[in-house]
């Protein structure tokens, strides 16, 4: 026992990325040690899901490419992040995703596609997609699974990594795999407690606030006209950090900073949706 927490002594290890020697603490992943490797399924508050395969890199001695989001650095490892092989893989993964999924609200993905020359239309007009009507079954949020890339982040956020409500899971298999409540029940009949922590981590906009969904539908959603201001929640004394996204002096979305030691990006229904009272005029 010590009065002070003395912490765990950490070793430093060296490895090579694209020819450059880098030193990182033991336990670091390749992704954390490199800048700007594109990824969709990696969440800074979640365990790596290893699902999207956008962040694949070459590691010398490995038969296949390696997911940089989850692979821990080993001493002497030689990593290449930008080779013909990694670019081919990234191009194909983005093409496959783009051919099956609506990526129109996925931040940065068009930039990455342009970078590697991805063309999802290559698979032809008859390529199977996950297109389906958006699920609007409650007043607070919308699930548009046409945009779902099955990154598992919402399931992990709802499950034992954060919210522990377990309202949703991956169901089905293969191309039919999808995020679902039990027996596809509407959210109000499920274990959902409307914390919105799934929306917080969704990388594609498949999950969104009802307000955002409606505004997008009527063409009034304008991110360039929005401000994001971080403040503190007015409900209870835990002191959760809220980032209020405001357009035309109207709160249109609430997020929480992922680096907050209080919330790690998570909120409850009151923090996420309880702001309406100040705007009732």
């Amino acid at each position: 026992m010590t009065i002070v927490d003395i912490g765990l002594p950490r070793r430093l290890i060296e490895f090579t990325v694209d020819g450059e020697q880098i030193t990182v603490p033991e336990g670091a992943t390749i992704l954390s040690a490199c800048k700007d490797i594109p990824t969709l399924c990696y969440g800074d508050t979640l365990e790596p899901a290893n699902a999207c395969r956008v962040c694949m890199v070459e590691v010398e001695g490995s038969r296949t490419l390696v997911p940089s989001c989850s692979r821990k650095v080993e001493p002497g490892m030689v990593v290449r992040t930008d080779t013909e092989r990694t670019r081919h893989s990234r191009r194909m993964v983005l093409e496959l995703l783009g051919s099956a999924t609506d990526l129109s609200t996925t931040p940065r993905v068009s930039e990455w596609m342009a970078e590697v020359g991805a063309d999802p239309s290559r698979f032809g007009p008859d390529a199977a997609t996950v297109s389906q009507p958006a699920l609007v079954d409650n007043p607070l949020y919308v699930r548009d699974y046409s945009k779902c890339i099955l990154c598992y982040k919402c399931v992990d956020a709802c499950g034992d990594q954060w919210q522990n409500s377990f309202a949703i899971a991956v169901a089905g298999r293969g191309f039919d795999a999808h995020i679902s409540t039990e027996f596809s029940a509407p959210l109000p009949d499920s274990a959902c407690v409307y914390c919105g922590n799934c929306i917080e981590v969704c990388p594609t906009g498949a999950l969104s606030f009802r307000r955002e969904f409606d505004k997008r539908a009527d063409g009034t959603w304008d991110e360039s006209a929005q401000t994001a201001t971080t403040t503190v929640c007015t409900f209870c004394g835990v002191g959760c950090n809220l980032t209020l996204h405001v357009q035309d002096n109207e709160i249109v979305k609430v997020t929480s900073p992922h680096d907050s030691t209080v919330t790690h990006g998570n909120l409850c229904i009151k923090g996420r949706f309880g702001w309406q009272h100040v705007q009732n005029t």
Partner: protein, 639 residues
């Protein structure tokens, strides 16, 4: 007494003044002049103590600082308090009595790193959901969770062990745990000798609480009491957290002290990972007290009866602070009834609905000569006012800071402009101060903060820039150059007695059952609490449509429902010695026979505080919301 669905409150955008008994719109000048004039009139007639300030636990630290300064420097009274009285005042009082400062001792990260967590009288899963995520991180890592609660709450469902105690028997349970620890040789002698005093008397006082006696009184099986005693004492790092199940009793401060005793007995405080943490119910109830918006403390927990402390403030403010404690909220209500207090300035509080036995409160407030309410809504309380001043919503329409349950001061920022017609709280306080002869002007919240931290050593190192850079700072933070540990009271472990300072005293406590006794007429125990998607009197949380919300219900266990011949959703009459309400029945298997549960979120539909009891804690003044005696009657069949 019928139930009606309330429309959400709309924002106040115009000052109101009362003429011939009716509130009518007024200009700002008229309203402010009237407000100031009323205060002057009453203070001239009855002295400074005819004035009371109800400050706001939801407003910023800066607002609370200015509000208490208004009471002390402009009016010259220490009669300032806030709704912390209705919830955690006993926590503050208990912690301050033992350790000298009234904050939780640990950080949220330490909860995650603990080996054992006790949640006592706390339904954190619903009332403090994000705190509970830290608890679950620990549980998933392998920590043990014990929940002490009369109800099998959703929190209790996560526990490794749930100790279902009878409402109001917390002290017997804590004392029995203590006795078991002592008799098993598990008391931490090193810590007791180093950091505490009064152990012998304490040990003698718990001697009567043998396991069988405790089992009989508390309803908790002896082996569970023994298990918790051993687990808590043996854990390397144990956390004790509590909420209103401990504090909202007529002896709430004693309840808090009984838990603090356990930490002293086992050395589970003052170290990384081991501590005592009340979970605060309002976003800035911690900060309100820290800022001196309480009758006995100046900003930074400085004693109002300490001449040196007062002198510093008087010098800075040009004031003459009275050298004695002011009245707390409960005492102020009593003073209103006596006629000693004739005017109040209520900022963002809703005592007409939040106080126990609220009919009584309304009656008392109606006695007053002059009530000024500054709020964002026309609440029940505002409807009683003589002057109503439309204010801003602190958390999103103003700049400033809040202080959370882990003592972390965090920046609050203006994200939206307030509706036209609403004005900043601090600006309004300054307007009134100027009308009462004090030329107050603040250009920014930061200016207020800097004035405050010059006077409060424990806040001195927290510049706005630093708060932004570090994502908030936990107090104490005396220097801009360094940070203190995340936990309090490490001094108690020091080997050097000088550095150790004042030892933490054990408290000798007596069991005192709930005041509202069960009887043949009122055979059921009613306890109250929160639900996940709602908040307090529902003024804020009623503003959004929650798919989870079901309105007020009377929760009964299946056995009681069967006995009473009532079924789910049936409307019944719930009566206590003070009043009666009508509510629908909800069956909850987490309750046991004899125990009923209601929230207090829907007072406009079912005003539960018409039946709760106002029996208050003598130290902290908090009412016994958690234990009323009720009866439940079927309604006559509708023809």
């Amino acid at each position: 007494m019928g139930r009606r669905k309330r429309e959400p409150y709309v924002r106040l955008t115009q000052p109101l003044v009362r003429d011939s008994g009716v509130l009518r719109p007024a200009s700002w000048d008229e309203a402010l002049d009237r407000a100031a004039e009323g205060f002057r009139r009453n203070v001239e007639a009855g002295g400074p103590n005819a004035f009371g300030m109800f400050s706001c636990a939801r407003a910023t630290n800066e607002m609370n600082y200015v509000a208490q300064k208004f009471a002390r420097a402009v009016i010259g009274t220490n009669n300032v308090d806030s709704c912390n009285r209705t919830c955690h005042a006993p926590s503050v009082a208990g912690l301050a009595k033992v350790f000298g400062s009234g904050g939780g001792t640990s950080s949220y990260q330490e909860i995650e790193d603990a080996d054992l967590i006790v949640l006592w009288g706390s339904n954190a899963r619903e009332a403090h959901p994000i705190f509970f995520q830290h608890v679950l991180k620990a549980v998933h890592r392998g920590a043990r969770l014990y929940v002490v609660d009369p109800r099998q709450t959703s929190t209790a469902k996560w526990a490794h062990r749930w100790l279902r105690l009878t409402v109001g028997t917390d002290i017997p349970l804590a004392n029995a745990i203590a006795r078991e620890i002592i008799h098993s040789g598990l008391a931490n002698r090193s810590f007791i000798e180093r950091g505490t005093e009064g152990f012998e008397e304490y040990a003698a006082s718990v001697e009567e609480w043998t396991l069988p006696v405790a089992e009989q009184v508390t309803g908790v099986p002896a082996d569970l009491i023994r298990e918790l005693a051993h687990a808590y004492a043996r854990a390397d790092r144990a956390q004790m957290s509590w909420t209103l199940g401990i504090t909202e009793h007529h002896n709430g401060t004693d309840n808090v002290l009984s838990l603090i005793n356990l930490s002293l007995l086992t050395g589970q405080v003052g170290r990384y990972g081991a501590g005592l943490n009340p979970l605060r119910g309002q976003n800035n109830v911690q900060g309100g007290g820290d800022m001196g918006a309480i009758p006995d403390r100046l900003p930074g927990f400085q004693d109002v009866e300490d001449p040196e402390a007062r002198a510093a403030f008087d010098a800075a403010w040009g004031s003459q602070i009275p050298p004695y404690k002011g009245w707390n909220l409960t005492q102020m209500l009593e003073a209103m009834e006596r006629g000693d207090m004739t005017t109040v300035y209520v900022i963002g509080e809703n005592p007409a609905q939040s106080e126990a036995d609220c009919e009584h409160t309304i009656k008392r407030m109606s006695n007053l000569d002059h009530v000024v309410v500054q709020d964002i809504f026309l609440t029940k309380t505002a409807q009683l006012a003589h002057v109503v001043l439309p204010a801003t919503a602190a958390w999103c329409e103003t700049d400033g800071t809040f202080t959370n349950s882990e003592r972390r001061v965090q920046r609050v920022r203006k994200a939206v402009a307030p509706p036209d017609g609403a004005r900043d709280d601090i600006e309004l306080l300054c307007e009134l101060a100027r009308r009462l002869g004090h030329d107050w002007r603040y250009d920014s919240a930061e200016q207020v903060w800097d004035e405050m931290r010059a006077l409060s050593p424990m806040h001195r190192g927290m510049s706005y820039a630093r708060l932004a850079d570090l994502g908030g700072i936990q107090w104490p933070c005396p220097s801009e150059e360094s940070l203190e540990p995340t936990y309090l009271h490490a001094r108690l472990w020091e080997a050097d007695p000088v550095r150790r300072g004042r030892p933490a005293p054990f408290s000798v406590l007596r069991h005192s059952p709930p005041v509202d006794e069960l009887s043949a007429e009122f055979p059921l125990r009613l306890t109250t609490g929160r639900r996940l998607d709602s908040y307090n009197t529902g003024v804020q949380s009623g503003g959004f449509s929650s798919p989870l919300r079901r309105g007020e219900t009377l929760d009964l266990c299946p056995e009681d429902a069967l006995d009473l011949g009532v079924v789910e959703d049936e409307l019944v009459q719930v009566s206590s010695r003070r009043g009666a309400v009508v509510a629908p029945v909800r069956i909850d298997e987490g309750l046991r026979p004899g125990l009923a549960f209601m929230t207090f979120h829907f007072p406009d539909e079912v005003d539960v505080n018409q039946i709760t009891i106002e029996a208050t804690d003598p130290v902290a003044g908090t009412a016994e919301y958690k234990a009323a005696a009720i009866r439940v009657d079927k309604l006559p069949a509708v023809r």
